[in-house]
Amino acid sequence: MGQEDSSRNALSYKLKLFIAGSQPNSQLMRRTVEGLCERYLASRYSLKVFDVLEDFRPALEHNVLVAPTLIIEEPPPPIRIVGCVRDPRRILAILGLGEVHP
């Protein structure tokens, strides 16, 4: 791991995940993100999961139109990932925590 990676490791992560109830893509994404946070971000993250079917307001506030949507608010700049990501390494890459797999 290089210098940049170690500085990345020191960062804290603020994630918001919007799901639509028990909808399969949403549930799959939720499990993927939760597992990934446990494993790679340990105690350096906060993850909030919003179910749009329970309350539409947070989605409205964040202009979230589709589910699942993962918003990485921190570290900046904020990034949105839309759709169910099958490969967790893709999220790690976007977070800057591993090699980027196309």
Binding site: F56, L60, N63, V66
Partner: protein
């Protein structure tokens, strides 16, 4: 607006009919036979710039103004852009938003978005449902959802999402308007077919350029469970929104003629059998300069004096020029103009399309509520974008005004030899009740004006051609001159009258002369007879004389014969004798 509400009432009273909501756009409710299907989806299709968003927004806005809350989700423009565009039509969306009657939602995806897999539209729909519940909204507009859906590059996912959207829409209880661009290929085509089948009503908008003038048209492609106007209807996006006037079942709505009203020229009233009818359509046709505008102005002046209101639509002259020109013929339009009983609407025909002209006029008629409208001239209307545009403009104008019991006086400029054929102009002759034809009569080194009533529905009228003169006290129609030489005007008329008197005297003299001649000839005959008789007598006398000569000669011959015989017998005989 009135028609819209009427439409709804009509519809509500019809049994087993589809519940509808008014669009509050005059004309559109008529075409849709009452309005949009309530709690169902209506699709507005059209290429960019055809007015889809304006139409959808206006329906939402007009509903909100009447206390019907609505939600607009814009997938293409930002809410701020929409607010600003609406402001150009004088629609204050923010005021409605503040009162909870309108909600504008951004439907654009954040630009920093990575699409990494399959997704569904549930958050969007959850927001719309939630907001609708909160506001009590029953109407929603999805403006360009195809933009969002275009991010789905997977056909099966697209199909699933559209299916989901369809089900959600039909379960939502919302009256929904969706605007989409027609697409012919790929996933876009799939969207279109889906949108088409999920919608109970499909409205198509188009904009075409003809003769350098853009004409927008609206057509209803389908309306499940309801009848609808099947034509293509021109419309305009005016300063206050969408305007359209359908040509539908118009003849039935026309009001019957009202009472007789004076044309402002007493003698013309006489020719017409008592004046114009209120709520009729009168055409003044003729060559340039024959006095059509003056007659129209005289009518305007007179009706204003009677306390009525006149709208003068001029495509030929400016207000100032017209008022000044007719004042030289003693017609005062400045007075009624100042009192507010006369208004002008002056525009160059080519300045805008026929629809915009029509809408401007409709706006003016609604605002001013005139009793009479003068259109000067209908021949200029062709410059709005061709013959067809002029025809549509006039047809719809006439319908609109006739339905409202407004008298229409139209001026039509004809030229030269074709005059008789183009009197009515632009194929609208069936709509015209009275035609007054103006012409020039040439001769005797001068040109004079003549008028004739060619047609006057609902009354008898004079068929005489009358001379009319323009004096500084207005138009004067002279007594008819009907003589052996046709119609005479001006100096020719005076000459003709003198000629006639002369002719009478000349004839009397000629008759006397002839009579004398006969007498003389008779006398001559007698004299000739006498002469011939004398000649006969002379001849007879000569004959007798000749006969006498013949007898004498015979006697002499006999004498000579006797003498010779004596000579031959000898001298003794002589001696003897």
């Amino acid at each position: 607006m009135e028609t819209g509400e009427k439409g709804i009432e009509l519809f509500a009273s019809a049994p087993k009919s589809l519940p509808k909501i008014s669009t509050h756009i005059e004309g559109l409710d008529q075409i849709l036979e009452g309005g949009l299907p309530a709690q169902r989806t209506t699709l507005i299709m059209g290429e960019p710039g055809t007015g889809k968003t304006v139409l959808a927004l206006e329906i939402l806005y007009r509903g909100a103004c009447r206390g019907e809350p609505g939600i607009l989700v814009s997938f293409e423009e930002s809410p701020q852009d929409i607010r600003e565009n609406a402001a150009t039509f004088g629609w204050d969306l923010e005021a409605l938003e503040d009162r909870g009657l309108l909600y504008l939602m951004e439907g654009k995806m954040d630009s920093a978005t990575l699409i990494e897999g399959r997704f569904s539209l549930e958050p969007l729909l959850a927001i719309i449902s939630g907001k609708a519940r909160e506001m009590g909204a029953k109407r929603a507009v999805l403006d360009a959802p195809d933009v969002l859906l275009a991010m789905i590059d997977d056909a099966s996912m697209a199909r699933a999402q559209l299916q989901f959207l369809t089900e959600w829409l039909s379960a939502s209880g919302l009256t929904t308007l969706m605007t989409i661009k027609p697409r012919q290929v790929g996933i876009g085509r799939l969207f279109q077919e889906f949108f088409d089948s999920m919608s109970d009503c499909v409205i198509s908008l188009s904009a075409r350029v003809m003769d350098q003038v853009t004409t927008r048209r609206l057509r209803v492609l389908k309306y499940r469970g309801s009848g609808f106007g099947k034509n293509e209807y021109p419309f305009v996006i005016s300063g206050s929104g969408i305007k359209l006037i359908p040509i539908t079942a118009f003849q039935l709505l026309h009001k019957p003629f009202g009472e007789r009203i004076s044309s402002g020229i007493e003698r013309l009233d006489g020719l017409l059998g008592g004046g114009f009818f209120r709520n009729s359509c009168i055409l003044l046709a003729g060559e340039p300069g024959t006095g059509k505008t003056l007659m129209a102005s005289a009518f305007a002046e007179h009706r204003c004096e009677e306390g009525e209101k006149v709208l003068y639509v001029s495509f030929e002259e400016s207000q100032d020029a017209l008022v000044r020109n007719v004042s030289s013929a003693g017609i005062d339009l400045a007075g009624p103009l100042k009192r507010g009983s006369l208004r002008f609407l002056c525009a160059m025909p080519e300045s805008k399309g026929a629809e915009e002209h029509l809408m401007e006029l409709v706006d003016e008629v609604q605002g001013f509520a005139p009793d009479h409208v003068i259109v000067d001239s209908i021949s200029a209307c062709e410059r709005m974008g061709g013959k067809q545009a002029a025809f549509e403009y006039l047809m719809r104008l006439l319908n609109y005004l006739k339905e409202r019991g407004i008298t229409i006086l139209m001026v039509n400029q004809t030229s030269g030899s074709k005059a008789q054929l183009e009197i009515s102009g632009s194929g609208i002759s069936s709509m015209i009740d009275t035609v007054i034809f103006f012409s020039y009569v040439h001769g005797e080194g001068e040109t004079n004006r003549a008028i004739q009533v060619l047609k006057s529905r609902g009354s008898g009228h004079s068929n005489q051609i009358r001379e009319c003169v323009i004096t500084d006290e207005g138009i004067r129609i002279l007594d008819p001159y009907v003589g052996p030489g046709g119609v005479f005007t001006g100096t020719a008329r005076k000459v003709q009258e003198a000629k006639d008197a002369l002719e009478t005297r000349r004839l009397a003299a000629e008759i006397e002369l002839k009579e004398r001649e006969i007498e003389r000839l008779k006398a001559a005959l007698e004299a000739e007879k006498l002469k011939l008789r004398m000649q006969i007598e002379m001849a007879e006398w000569e004959l007798a004389k000749l006969r006498g000569e013949v007898e004498t000669a015979e006697r002499e011959r006999q004498e000579r014969l006797r003498l010779r015989e004596r000579e031959w017998q000898g001298p003794q005989d002589l001696d003897k004798s």
